[in-house]
């Protein structure tokens, strides 16, 4: 990030760093995203393994919060049943904007192994809430979680606050 490079290069008369406000705000928001503690099924076990010391998810600045009012994003890990879908909608609406959703695993992306005969499974959590990043896998490897988080950080870095920017496709976000 250009902001951090400039910290090594102070101007005369003191250390002044110039940057765009949007860059600074986006940098702050993407590097300390707090997520809502929400695990449903087997992907949640993989999520716990990723939070542990070997793969350490918290080095992205993500701290688990237990209340949706204090969370920035939610990771839907696991199978979403119709009973749970109503509760997820309530939780999503309680989160304060700007909020993001990462859908982890096949079950919350598209229904997963229950797509054909699961009478009580919601075929993809994007039928009820808008999803920002999809992480495929059953369950995804911890490295795939990291890739998803980095994608979310890139998406946040691109957000505009004052001027309207052109909406990018998924492949264009660098």
């Amino acid at each position: 990030m250009g902001l951090l490079n400039r910290l090594d290069d102070p101007y005369n008369g003191g250390e002044v760093v110039l940057g765009k406000i949007e860059d600074v705000l986006n940098w702050g928001r993407s590097k300390s995203d707090w997520y809502l503690h929400f695990g449903l099924a087997c992907c949640a076990i993989e999520f716990m393994a990723m939070n542990a010391s070997h793969f350490d998810f918290m080095r992205f600045g993500t701290i688990p919060r237990t209340s949706p009012r204090q969370a920035d994003f939610i990771m839907i890990t696991g199978t979403v049943t119709l009973k749970m879908a109503e509760r997820i909608k309530i939780l999503y609406e309680q989160m304060a904007e700007p909020r993001y959703v990462i859908s982890v695993g096949s079950c919350s992306n598209c229904g997963g192994p229950y797509w054909e005969h699961g009478y009580h499974v919601l075929k993809g959590v994007d039928r009820i809430i808008p999803v920002d990043v999809y992480i495929p896998g059953c369950p995804p490897r911890p490295e795939a979680f990291h890739e998803g988080m980095i994608q979310l950080q890139k998406k946040i870095n691109h957000q505009a606050i004052f001027t309207k920017r052109k909406k990018l496709d998924a492949g264009e976000i660098k």
Partner: protein, 157 residues
């Protein structure tokens, strides 16, 4: 105690309510009984000195096209013997006496059998669905079950 000894003692006590001991298929031999006497027979199984079946392992229900079967797996901690009890009721009127007062674990097992197949257990204190939402229609594990198109404005299929 072997299943045929248990069958002999039950038969001598309850007569025709105990239909037969079936051990033709591979697996556990099971005793078929009529549903009207289910409560007394289960009470005897739990309390009689020779049986002492104090652990109800599982209640399962079967969908046999015109009938519905209910299967009880029992185990005794003292004598370490097991037995399987089976009753069959017609699908048009699936009512079976509840054994919740004999073994407490039957509470949720019977609610699950009601939710999934539709067996109504008479005498149960809280016969409502346990797995599906309370306003779900239909019994999912029946062979002729069709899932609904929409549930609360969410597309199911």
């Amino acid at each position: 105690m072997l299943p045929n000894e248990i069958y002999e003692i039950l038969r001598s006590e309850f007569g025709d309510a105990v239909i037969e001991l079936d051990n033709k298929l591979q697996g556990d031999p099971f005793i078929s009984i009529i549903p009207a006497k289910l409560f007394e027979i289960c009470h005897t199984l739990r309390d009689k000195e020779e049986f002492l079946f104090d652990y109800l392992m599982c209640i399962s229900s079967l969908d046999l096209n015109e009938n519905i079967g209910v299967v009880y797996h029992l185990y005794s901690m003292n004598y370490k013997h097991k037995i399987v009890i089976k009753t069959i009721v017609p699908k048009a009127d699936p009512k079976v006496p509840s054994v919740e007062l004999i073994w407490r674990s039957a509470d949720w097992h019977e609610r699950e059998a009601y939710d999934m197949i539709g067996v109504v257990f008479e005498g149960h204190h809280n016969m409502i669905r346990i797995l599906c939402p309370y306003d779900w229609e239909g019994h999912p594990l029946r062979k002729d079950y069709q899932p609904p198109e929409y549930y609360h404005d969410m597309k199911v299929s």
